[in-house]
Amino acid sequence: MKLLVCIKQTPDSTVRVKVGPGGRSIDESGVTWAIAPYDEYAVEMALERKDADAATTVAVVTVGPPRAKDALRQALAMGADEATLVTGAEAATLEGLGVARALAAVVAEAKPDLVLCGRQSSDDDQGFVGPALAEVLGWPHVAAVTNFTGADGAVDVWKEVEGGHEVWRASGPAVLTVQKSEKEPRYPSLPGIMKAKKKEIPEKDVAALGIEGGAPRLEIVKMEPPAARGGGKILKDGDTRQTAAELVRLLREEAKVL
């Protein structure tokens, strides 16, 4: 089975993202970059499939600036077989439907059986590209996937819903947006890291992909830190019952949430 995983390189989750001087984008200085968390689960899910069935190949692709190659190398180090970087002057500003179209061009060439990606990236938090890619390809998609089994023509996909999972069967190619994999994303072995360092990562220029332009874009007008919280009341000493009653009163009368 041939799997293609679409990933995005985003600021690592430990980074305290700060608003840049222009007030419209983040301050990228000192940011550690990594594969977006949900995308990492997608890579892991593909690799788990490969562990179970040696005939599986896992390819990864990303659309982004040159530094996104590091994210691809991380995926290779984890065990992916090949990686492609879609870059170029336009790649840095491509978003939404534009990205979906660029990825669709890669998919058309690679012809995978399934495309996986995280259900949303941790920079724009939109969760758009997965379904959009499916739409451009004209493929069905399943969101919030936690597992899949089966072979060509009959792939069962577990979709997380309230209270459990729905199992849907895909009889042809589909896009899966991943919520969580069975296991935590694996830590790459050192030989894996070394091999990945030496691996060739072909680059494709967005401009050369021949995608139609004219995708709508969101313009960031203002960016600011989240509304400051806290400065809340701390109830500390005193009788437990009194404190409990006081809290109920505050929630009822002051916060008006009870």
Binding site: V17, P131, G163, A174, I220, K222, K233, I234, T240, L258
Partner: protein, 295 residues
């Protein structure tokens, strides 16, 4: 300005977030409230096909959907099909001539942004972002017929969760009671469930306890779990690591109970109780029960 509100139904009626969205649509312009009908199980493709067809005829400027799991899925695909701008999890919308000014968060909730989306656009709306006006009844809903034949995937079965968490689903809960390591072990969750029961709340958990297998993964609130936006979030024995905060800081009111006065959760809590949660929670549950009984 023509605005659509696409509503979703739960077994007990139109979902609250859909009502909020419908009210907002009415606020913004000439509103139509639509519901996709004719599907035994909600699925994106048939709904998108039906709505896109209707959109081609009716030509709305803005389509609003409540940002439930299903809603986000539907909205994204619809926007792609129509080739329209898309913004997810809006906390505020205003129309400004030929664009919509949307406020939302980015970077896993670490920053707030105001973006301009050129109309026409599809926007999914965060539950609880818009308050329902008092005494608002159910809106007039137009059905949009969808055909299951448009769904190439074949539904096999539903598998309920083994340890199905609380009875209230986490995603759109108005109140969430969340437990962390401070509860010491899975056997102590009775207390959490009781409080949740009295409050009609969903159950949440920190990553530490879902990783340890104390609670099912579906309950995990945080960076790689769910992001929740309730009116009231009660964190019990949770220290407030960044990854957890990322999943709940947009809650309207945060209450934290922890024995460590220096716990980070107190930095974001609106009300904090420093003390032994094994003593406090039962007492608090009792007081809530009494207060609710009083009416």
């Amino acid at each position: 300005m023509k605005a659509w509100a696409v509503v979703e139904r739960s077994p007990s009626g139109i979902r609250r977030v859909s009502l909020e969205v419908a009210a907002k649509a009415k606020d913004l312009g000439e509103a139509s409230v639509l519901e996709v009908t004719g599907l035994a199980r909600p699925s994106a493709l048939p709904a998108v096909a039906a709505l896109a067809k209707r959109a081609a005829e009716a030509k709305p400027d803005l389509v609003l959907v409540g940002a439930t799991a299903g809603g986000r899925d539907l909205a994204a695909r619809l926007a792609a099909r129509l080739g329209w701008a898309y913004a997810s999890e809006a906390t505020g919308i205003a129309i400004d001539g030929a664009s919509a000014t949307v406020t939302r968060t980015m970077y896993a909730g670490k920053v707030r942004v105001t973006v301009k989306a050129p109309l026409p656009a599809v926007v999914s709306v965060r539950p609880g972002a818009f308050t329902l006006p008092q005494g608002a009844g159910e809106p007039q809903v137009e059905g949009v017929a969808a055909s299951a034949a448009d769904e190439p995937l074949a539904f096999q079965r539903f598998e309920p969760s083994a340890a199905a968490g609380g009875k209230v689903p986490l995603a759109e809960a108005r109140v969430v009671v969340s437990g962390g390591r401070g509860l010491k072990g899975p056997e102590n969750w009775k207390m959490v469930e009781e409080l949740a029961g009295v409050l009609g709340a969903a159950l949440g958990a920190s990553r530490a306890v879902t990783d340890a297998g104390w609670r099912p993964n579906e309950e995990q609130v945080g960076q790689t779990g769910r992001t929740v936006t309730p009116d009231l979030y009660i964190a019990l024995g949770i220290s407030g690591a960044i990854q957890h905060l990322a999943g709940m800081t947009s809650s309207k009111v945060i209450v934290a109970v922890n024995k460590d006065p220096d716990a980070d959760i107190f930095k974001v809590a609106d009300y904090g109780v420093v003390g032994d949660l094994f003593e406090f929670v039962p007492a608090f549950t009792d007081e809530v029960r009494k207060a609710k009984a009083r009416g």
